[in-house]
């Protein structure tokens, strides 16, 4: 009913708690067990810890470019608590908490950001697409996994992510339209973190909201406070039920803020103010949920420190493991391009190996001299 009550056409943001973590709309507080709630919070903590460590690994030159998730964790955790084993996840590239829920191992994740393809396939994650770097191009994929689900009468839904910037691409439009016309089970989630690299939302679109774009496709649209775990959880839950029961796709705009840089090569001070950043830090999703939990005596600050240091150890152990992972052989450049390697590729490989042999013998000669 949230989708009706807060339909994007009404221009109301759906929130359950305030910026301090006080419940402001008890009637909308979703049913969720204390266990699951604590798990959801721990998931957020874990993702945040991993995220921050990756950023520092990057500063140490141990991985390449990385897009920080800081501040957007409630969205990912909400999906994580709802998504089922057979459901599909079609990621953009900034929703680590959701990936982990689908079974992506930290090691694969590290390998990928270390620039090792072996990780990028997320082989252990069932029914999950790889990261999609070309903005919004993943959305048509999501749209039509749904068609396959319908055709095969499977009990699955698809969760698809994009950013606010992604809504400007033609593929956003085509994907949502296909999904609506074909009435398939997809939950489209826009992480509106206010920026596409340096470009602020107002230069991206002047529509009343991003959620209202759902109108263009005849699907329900909802604008949610993406830093409010309860609101996100309730929205995802309702979206999931709606779409799983054959009512077609839905669009959720999760309003949030990218607290970190766009990627580790970006410098946000060039395009936004310290005041803005601080204002949003006050709405931090982890803090809000923590406040709530502490208030309800479900959590203690003391426990957190220990937990995080445990996380850190674990994360670092895996990171070192990933660092020690063998770098991949020449073979791997070739073998996955086609099911059966075309003669031409075979020859390119053989020729290159011949060169490598020559090079080795040349080096030996040099050394011998």
């Amino acid at each position: 009913m949230i989708f009706k009550e807060f339909s994007a056409t009404k221009k109301r943001l759906f929130r359950v708690m305030d910026d301090q973590g006080k419940i402001i709309s008890p009637s909308h507080l979703p049913e969720i067990s204390n266990e699951l709630l604590i798990k959801a919070f721990q998931d957020m903590l874990f993702a945040r810890t991993a995220d921050q460590m990756i950023v520092s690994y990057q500063r140490q030159g141990r991985i390449f470019t990385y897009p920080p998730n800081l501040g957007q964790e409630a969205i990912h955790s909400a999906v994580a608590q709802v998504i089922k084993h057979d459901d599909w996840l079609v990621p953009a590239f900034r929703e680590m908490g959701a990936w982990l829920a689908k079974g992506v191992t930290l090691k694969d994740l590290f390998l990928y950001f270390m620039g090792n393809e072996t990780g990028g396939s997320f082989s252990s994650a069932h029914n999950m697409f790889p990261v999609s770097v070309p903005i919004a191009s993943q959305l048509p994929h999501a749209a039509v996994i749904g068609y396959a689900i319908k055709l095969k009468k499977l009990d699955q839904v698809v969760y698809a992510f994009t950013g606010d910037g992604g809504t400007s691409e033609g593929d956003f439009h085509e994907a949502l339209n296909f999904a609506a016309v074909w009435k398939v089970p997809v939950v489209f989630i826009i992480q509106n973190n206010q920026f596409a690299i340096s470009v602020p939302l107002r230069m991206q679109t002047v529509s009343d909201s991003l959620a209202i774009k759902a109108q263009a496709y005849g699907m329900p649209g909802l604008q949610v406070d993406g830093n409010d775990f309860f609101a996100m959880f309730a929205a995802i839950k309702e979206a999931e039920e709606h779409t799983r029961t054959g009512n077609g796709p839905v669009l959720i705009e999760a309003v949030t803020y990218r607290q970190g840089a766009h990627t580790t090569s970006d410098d946000p001070t060039k395009y936004r103010t310290r005041e803005e950043e601080e204002a949003w830090q006050k709405k931090d999703p982890v803090n809000r949920l923590r406040n709530y939990l502490i208030d309800k005596k479900l959590w203690e600050e003391s426990r957190e420190e220990e937990l995080i240091s445990q996380f850190r150890k674990e994360i670092d152990r895996i990171f070192v493991e990933a660092e020690n992972h063998p770098s991949y052989p020449l073979e791997d450049v070739f073998q996955y391009q086609y099911a059966e390697m075309p003669d031409d590729l075979k020859r390119q490989k053989i020729e290159h190996e011949r060169f490598l042999e020559w090079s080795r013998s040349r080096t030996k000669k040099e050394v011998a001299r």
Binding site: G120, V144, A148, L151, E174
Partner: protein
């Protein structure tokens, strides 16, 4: 055996595979009720249901992009791009996903997708309706690009494409959609992709062509014969992978190469053929390999197209010049 033109043959291949493989779905603009603007999918929706043969919204990127999702989810989509000139909106999906998903996911997700593309000039069409852009696809790692020149080949090659574990750009020379009729087996049979074919053995000049140009070369060969030139005609059939072995052995035999295609010349398939002639048979070459292909301009509207199309006479002219070099 049954007399078929290429439209019938492609339709037959789709029909057979739709029956055999429940994962095949066929869609695109107007392919359902209408049966396609060239009637290639005519009757398939009635036979196989609107779940498996259907119309899509008018959005090429969406059509190919959705095929990616379907393929990952275990289906085998066959999508139609209405004309070669309208594939461009789908380029991002083709290059960024279709062609590389297997590699990017180390084989976790594969893309058994067939993208059907009617292409080529000579049909008195509007602008944007006569393009021959096979070279663009051939340059993209991960795609197969094939082009039949007869109904029988079209059927066998399409069946192979529909069994291919990797994506295939299946380009259909619309100029000869209905112009060539021949006996075609009604059975399911396949012709391996990646293999060319010697249509006519000869000793003086190797002529390499594909699609609608094969027939034009055959016309030129009548003149060549009169002029006492023995032509070995190769139907390339597959642009990528390209049959270097076949090309090399023929070129080594004749020492002379003429390549014939509708595409604009610069940076086209012809350039790759020139490269292959050198890389594979340098010491055998007795004349510079020659490209007979289109000017590097857009295809003129019908009233100017005669200036632009490759005529049998022009092919003969170049064959003769190469033979006499």
């Amino acid at each position: 055996m049954k007399i078929m033109n290429m439209v019938n043959a492609i339709n037959d291949a789709l029909d057979i595979k739709l029956k055999e493989d429940p994962n095949i779905v066929v869609y695109g603009e107007d392919v359902g009720v209408e049966g396609g603007v060239f009637r290639v999918t005519e009757g398939l929706q009635k036979k196989h249901g609107a779940d498996r043969v259907f119309d899509s919204p008018l959005a090429e990127s969406g059509i190919v992009g959705t095929a990616v999702g379907m393929a990952a989810a275990g289906l085998r989509p066959v999508v139609e791009m209405q004309f070669c000139g309208f594939v461009y909106p789908a380029f991002n999906q083709i290059i960024s996903h279709v062609s590389r998903m297997r590699n990017r996911t180390r084989g976790k997700y594969t893309m058994p997708i067939v993208i059907r593309v009617p292409y080529g000039g000579g049909i008195n069409a509007l602008e944007h309706h006569s393009e021959s852009m096979e070279a663009l696809y051939a340059h993209i790692p991960g795609l197969k690009v094939v082009i039949p020149s007869t109904p029988a080949d079209a059927k066998g090659m399409l069946i192979s494409a529909l069994e291919s574990p990797d994506p295939v750009m299946f380009m259909e020379p619309k100029r000869i959609y209905r112009a060539i009729k021949q006996e075609v087996s009604e059975d399911s049979y396949s012709i391996p992709l990646g293999k060319g074919k010697i249509l006519h053995p000869g000793t003086d000049v190797t002529v390499i062509a594909y699609g609608a140009m094969v027939r034009e070369v055959q016309k030129a060969m009548v003149m060549a014969k009169e002029a006492g030139i023995s032509v070995e005609l190769i139907d390339l059939r597959s642009i990528y992978p390209i049959d270097k072995e076949l090309l090399a052995s023929s070129i080594k035999k004749t020492g002379r190469v003429v390549f014939v295609a509708e595409e604009p010349t610069a940076f086209g398939v012809g350039a790759e053929i020139m490269a292959i002639a050198n890389e594979e048979a340098f010491l055998y070459l007795q004349a510079p390999p020659k490209r007979v292909s289109a000017f590097d301009t857009i295809v003129p509207l019908p009233k100017g197209e005669h200036h632009y199309l490759i005529s049998p006479e022009k092919i003969f002219y170049e064959i003769e010049r190469t033979a006499k070099f």
